[in-house]
Symmetry: C2
């Protein structure tokens, strides 16, 4: 399944692994795929530390960095504020009632307090916070691509990445967005169907993938949303995808940083246990359904805030439930970002094991489908 | 793509075409697939008329009949009532407020009155109404299979169909249902992912299909939900499906009975224009979003009734908006049952043209995916 994008990036197999864990990024790239570090929760200082580690462990293999440059967000019209000024301004816009509601959920489920004083930092989801991250990534020799998780990147970002000799791509959940990406000059798009985790559309992968592949042809399209085995990968490649973009697959691998309690929650989840909710960021995203999502999805309770304000409400809950995943009933209110395919991930594997499994299943499935054509 | 189920049914290609139109059933079966007549809206007398026509036009080719035997419905505990008694009883349970709300929607959008007196009949969705339909179908020599659209059929129905030498299958949207179907002794299941039209689950096809295929192996699984071209068909077969079950594909073909105005609405719809709603039958089903669905989906308005009561509210709207599809603003309140794949169906084709297109696209896609394996 060697495609043009493999050649462009210097990878063996078009398997893209999105992960917030540097160990996963390194292990997948070493196994022949492309590790993609999700930097959306990091500021430039944290990203620098992660990239230092990756560069010193990845043995010259390529990897990518995924950032979040949303097109519409509260604070977008304040480009001249410093990061700190923007953060202060955004925090003032968060109603106390929302913080109190989140805190009550934490208390009711026995989630331990955060040990330090201080509010969480804003996520890297504003121009002020994301630009230093991109600049940091572009200093790294083995970082071969930048991917934007939300919307078409601004022209100056596209130019900056391309001039550095790297590829730039972006996710999309609608044909219109994909065409915007193409017109803006991106090198590839990631088409994520509704099955996928995180920010995700309502249209399912089987319908969305070929629609976007046709709309931006011959631009390479990576298929995302619902890929957990090699048969699903073959399905995507059959429809003309240039590769697969996977996320949920890597949440429970040996190399992933999550606490055992969080991994167990994910391993035990079924395909019916996720929900598309605004309770994580204020924008429709798929996560495991639990009492956190039920609270904010209940129309009788407070409405989630717009991006990136609701992310400030969520950030404290996330750091506490992730760090103390096994304490109290943390799992009842943890924010477990994952797609429906989490239901078919039931055991801990190594990254290399997952890559090998995908390839084996792919080849078996291809053999089986060819066998349906006796004269082929 | 010849599979065991093709052999069992005597068809050339595992393309199953669900349609309420007898002309579509005949044309698809003659083109080498299997036409499946949706009898859910018919009583036995109407079905008899349709089957007379099919049998005299189908040139000995096989076809199937799809019925609706829901497992849970209001009136299920009244097996001894006659069809008329059950109908009278159910009509009495429909609040006048619901009928008034539906009538107001019709009036507001200029939908003409129904010319005759009389409430719509209850749908064939109760044991009283569906059993005569099944018995009617089993008298027909070319009807080779019965399919249940909702739930596992009762044991006596399964036995009756099997003893007649026919196959019996059923739709499912969850692994648990598929396993129930298998344990009950059905011959095949149709696994419908969330993209599909009509009653449909939330889990997308790419995740649901392989889960169900593995759960009931080696029982044949037909993949439904999102199949409109041969690449999507190859995707399904790649994951191990024994064939594809398609519905939306046949709504706008030359042979379909719908009025031009309704076909135009469907041809112009995009993948983003459907919604999963309870406003058709009271149970989650995918249809085109419009002012009918918006009204009932709005939590501030009346809640839809449980099955089959809401179907009684809807039945009058359906017959009026279908018959007078081009009058007033009928399309604003018409119930257009279809899946997300409707967005890729943009021109009127013949049934034979659709079958030929699916096969051509399938072979092209298979060639393309094999070409990614240089040594294959």
């Amino acid at each position: 399944m060697y495609t043009k994008i493999c050649e462009g990036l210097g990878i063996e197999f078009p398997i893209f692994a999105f992960s917030h864990c540097r160990d996963v990024v390194v292990a997948v790239s070493k196994a022949g795929g492309l590790g993609v570090l999700g930097a959306g929760f990091m500021n430039a200082e944290q990203l620098k530390e992660e990239l230092d580690w990756i560069e010193s462990h990845i043995d010259g293999k390529p990897y990518a960095v995924d950032v979040v440059i949303p097109q519409n967000y509260v604070g977008r019209d304040e480009p001249d504020l410093s990061e700190q000024e923007l953060e202060d301004k955004l925090w003032k816009m968060v109603p106390q009632a929302h913080l109190d509601a989140a805190e009550k959920l934490m208390r009711d489920h026995g989630v331990p307090e955060w040990p330090e004083d201080g509010r969480p930092k804003i996520l890297g989801w504003t121009m002020q916070t994301v630009m230093p991250c991109i600049k940091e990534a572009l200093t790294r020799p083995n970082c071969k691509a930048i991917v934007n998780a939300l919307g078409t990147p601004p022209e100056h970002v596209i130019n900056m990445v391309k001039e550095s000799g790297r590829m730039i791509g972006a996710l999309c959940g609608k044909k219109k967005q994909a065409v915007q990406h193409k017109n803006a000059g991106l090198d590839f798009v990631v088409a994520q169907g509704g099955e996928g985790g995180g920010h995700t559309p309502e249209v399912g992968s089987v319908v969305l993938w070929p629609e976007i592949i046709d709309a931006v042809h011959p631009m390479p399209v990576l298929a995302a949303g619902g890929i957990g085995n090699g048969r699903q990968m073959l399905a995507a490649m059959s429809m003309g995808a240039a590769g697969v973009w996977t996320g949920s697959l890597w949440l429970t691998v040996e190399e992933a940083h999550a606490q055992p309690a969080q991994k167990n929650t994910l391993l035990n989840a079924t395909v019916n246990d996720t929900v598309r909710t605004t309770s994580w960021t204020g924008k429709g995203a798929r996560v495991l359904r639990n009492e956190w999502t039920d609270f904010w999805d209940n129309k009788e309770n407070l409405d989630p805030l717009p991006m990136p304000l609701h992310g400030l409400v969520t950030a404290d809950a996330m750091r506490r439930t992730e760090t103390y995943a096994g304490s109290g009933n943390c799992q009842n209110v943890a924010i477990n970002i994952c797609g429906q395919v989490i239901g078919q991930i039931n055991e801990i594997e190594s990254c290399r094991g997952v890559v090998t499994r995908l390839l084996t299943q792919y080849l078996d499935a291809l053999e089986n489908v060819n066998a349906l054509m006796p004269d082929y």
